[in-house]
């Protein structure tokens, strides 16, 4: 445990100085600020940011996460040649990646809201949920990125797989849901779609946000089903637990690979 926190501490220092992470925070900050300047009140800015966070955060977590593990490979070898256990090493690496990215989202999105707090009309709960969802999505998609980078020896393959996962979660999935709804319009689709949502962490993030914001027009098909069948409270709980499992399960498989792997 102590070894893991030590690795984490130094990795944190390295990545917090990484220019891509700094640029990531700056871009989020700029976009949020622009949304405020365009005359949105707090509620509308949250709604606009919603899709940005849902699309952008998983993409950055997946691409940065896989590339990071491939680039750090020689250094990981050197660290593993020290008296360091593989479990501690894995925990330190993942924490050292996920935390700075979560920090970038929190600062990039949260800071403008803090600055505009005086203007009034900031839906605090919704903003906190937005930041929390950003953090959970980052945790989950960095875990998936680690699993992919450990699965594929070749970095082009791993990076490609990461992009495919993002494409599947962000684009293809919505198309499939729409297609299913059109084709099977005469059948009760609620339960299958509810289950389908559990298999897409990005959609779980969307459900989490929309249930709280209670904007049925933007809820989408699966969000509406969550609301209708589980109610807001239970729906939130189910989506939250499922999203956490989307962090824990890829991490568990990643750790298993990391322990057995030849470097």
């Amino acid at each position: 445990m102590r070894t893991a926190t030590r690795i984490l501490g130094y990795q944190l220092r390295d990545i917090a100085r990484n220019r891509w992470v700094l640029a990531y925070a700056a871009v989020l900050l700029l976009l949020t600020e622009v949304l405020f300047r365009l005359g949105g009140d707090g509620q509308r800015v949250v709604l606009s940011l919603l899709n940005l966070v849902l699309i952008f955060v998983p993409l950055v977590a997946l691409t940065f996460g896989t590339l990071y593990l491939y680039t750090a490979r020689e250094f990981i070898e050197l660290l593993l040649a020290q008296p360091v256990g593989r479990g501690a090493m894995f925990a330190g690496l993942w924490g050292g990646l996920a935390l700075p990215l979560i920090g970038a989202v929190t600062i990039g999105v949260g800071l403008p809201f803090l600055l505009h707090f005086g203007d009034g009309g900031i839906p605090i709960q919704a903003v906190l949920l937005l930041l929390g969802t950003g953090a959970l999505l980052t945790a989950s998609f960095t875990a998936i990125a680690f699993l992919l980078a450990l699965r594929f020896e070749d970095r082009a393959m791993g990076f490609g797989a990461a992009l495919l996962v993002w494409l599947a979660c962000a684009v293809v999935y919505d198309g499939l849901v729409l297609l299913a709804v059109t084709i099977f319009a005469d059948y009760p689709l609620e339960t299958p779609l509810l289950i389908l949502t559990l298999f897409n962490p990005l959609d779980l993030g969307r459900v989490l946000l929309l249930l709280e914001l209670d904007v049925s027009a933007l809820m989408g098909y699966t969000g509406a089903i969550f609301n209708q069948f589980l109610g807001t409270g239970l729906g939130l709980a189910v989506a939250l637990i499922a999203l956490l499992l989307w962090t824990v399960i890829p991490l568990a498989f990643g750790l298993r690979r990391f322990r057995r792997r030849d470097f």
Partner: protein, 242 residues
Amino acid sequence: MTAPLVIDAAGLTKRFGKLQVLRGIDLSVAPGRITGLVGPNASGKSTLIKSILGLVRPDAGQLTVLGSPVNGDERYRGEIGYMPQAARFPENLTGREVLAMIRDLRGNTSPPDPALLDAFQLSEELSKPVRTLSGGTRQKLSAGLAFLFHPKLLILDEPTAGLDPVASGVFKRHLAAARERGASVLLASHTLSELGELADDIVFLLDGRVRFHGPVQQLLESTGASRLEPACAALMQGERVP
């Protein structure tokens, strides 16, 4: 009672997919010697080194390093200083932070031994982020790191490949000094002239087996060569024409 072996391997095998890299390595390395590890490309040198470090898990065979079986317990690596062939460090940390990181991870209680780092005169470079350092400077940092914690066993993979002649000379003097203090060294290199000058023993790997292991002198005599280069060439020929 003789001192325990530094490396004791019996029947190590390792296969990567279709490629059988180690085909039964038997090797006993006595302490206090500089052992040169030689062999053509793809003869299994890296895989053997990585097995000793616990980075690669052999498919079969026994491996004991410094008296501890290599079985997933990481503590034996506290006695090893490793210098990889290509040194890569986190780009945004300074050299000093990298050194502090490894020291923290090892949890060494005795004060470090910066003699080699000092001899390379790196103090100014160590305050800069690693990404701004030249390849040679990184290589010096990597070498200094391997020598930093009073290792009983030094494992060096092509250590002088990126060093200028002056740094290379400094490095060789410190290597000899470490041996004087009783450290054992496993030195993988393609620079045979350098090995002839430094090594006590030679381990020659060919096709994943130990083809020869013994003192440099014995290798020269048995092949009738005056230098290591033709001697190693003769060993490879001997394998092809039995």
